[in-house]
Symmetry: C2
Subunit: 221 residues, 2 copies
Amino acid sequence: MNTLNTIVLTEGSQPPKKPPTEELSQIWKSLIKFGTKLKLERKCYLFRAGEHNKHVYISLSGYLMLTKNKTLLDIVEPGQSLGAALLNSGNSIQTYPVSAMSIDQSEVLQLSAEVAFDLMNSNPLVNEYFIRQFKDRMSYLQICRSIESLPVTNRVAFFLLQKKSLLKNTTITRKMIAQAVNTTQETVIRTLANFEKQKIIEYAGRKIILIDSSHLEKLCL
Amino acid sequence: MNTLNTIVLTEGSQPPKKPPTEELSQIWKSLIKFGTKLKLERKCYLFRAGEHNKHVYISLSGYLMLTKNKTLLDIVEPGQSLGAALLNSGNSIQTYPVSAMSIDQSEVLQLSAEVAFDLMNSNPLVNEYFIRQFKDRMSYLQICRSIESLPVTNRVAFFLLQKKSLLKNTTITRKMIAQAVNTTQETVIRTLANFEKQKIIEYAGRKIILIDSSHLEKLCL
């Protein structure tokens, strides 16, 4: 299946002059010089695991899920990169190790992996940006692995705390939480109901609001 | 606790002229110019999670475990880096996110994180090496997370296949496998006994030998 069927691409669309985050301000000009803006509808694949491609992306707006098999590996926020595994792949054909799908309507900056890698080697700030991306994602994955053996309540608490800012800006479904902490949707529903009863969280429509973060933090020690 | 108590440091020891792997041959001279060789006895901490430090390491010989809490995150082989999370940390005080402990007697090249980061920015091949290190470790972590929900037999099969070359060169204990695939030692013992009965593996002393890799591969699909 081709991703081009699933993304809504505004061809040749100019990327915004303003970077999505302050962190990118010093390198934004260099990045958008070679980049194109893509628009994605809700629940569209930007790429799928195993696909051949030569692009690296930076999220401009909206949130995207990184998944592998049925596991939600991470949620990408504006300013973060996607597909950086293709950087530095030389001329060998490389495939994405994970899939990326938009949670809501999203925009991304698309860069050729080759161009992005040249920029890394010629501009220390671009290099620093991508290295920070690798480090942050690796660190999150390491923490996720290290809490695998904790009870599900603690894993849900960890996820809610780690993704605090996301809860405010997008709808994290129970299914997503289940896929992130490796449990069933039913268990997540039960866990969240308990948190609600204990006044640790509350709901505003479908959005989860953290009321007592310190309680969640204690569950993560 | 200070790591200096646990590592046996041969002060000012010259790193070897020959790199541990072919991959490092082109950048070895630049790396050893600024590096020192450290020797570690069996089961010694090179660093512990949360420690302040400013060093990045490359394994020269022997195998080291990366752990966090009680999870075995990965096993580092000669030629691979450790502590690269401290690269690019500027002047801010950074701590190691994980611990590193030698499995058997080991040697590592110690580099100041600052010097290593300067080398990355001035030498594209050094940059490429460290990016590859990040990518490889991230990719392994992503796969580990994505198989979390598989039965323990499949997770053990995955671990044995991923760490095939290690099995030949060092002793992987049942405890290590248990910590890597998030199960009990008893379950690992039972799983390996089943594999032995089915002639998928056999033992040479304490070493596990893979006889029928294709069977293990089927368990990883």
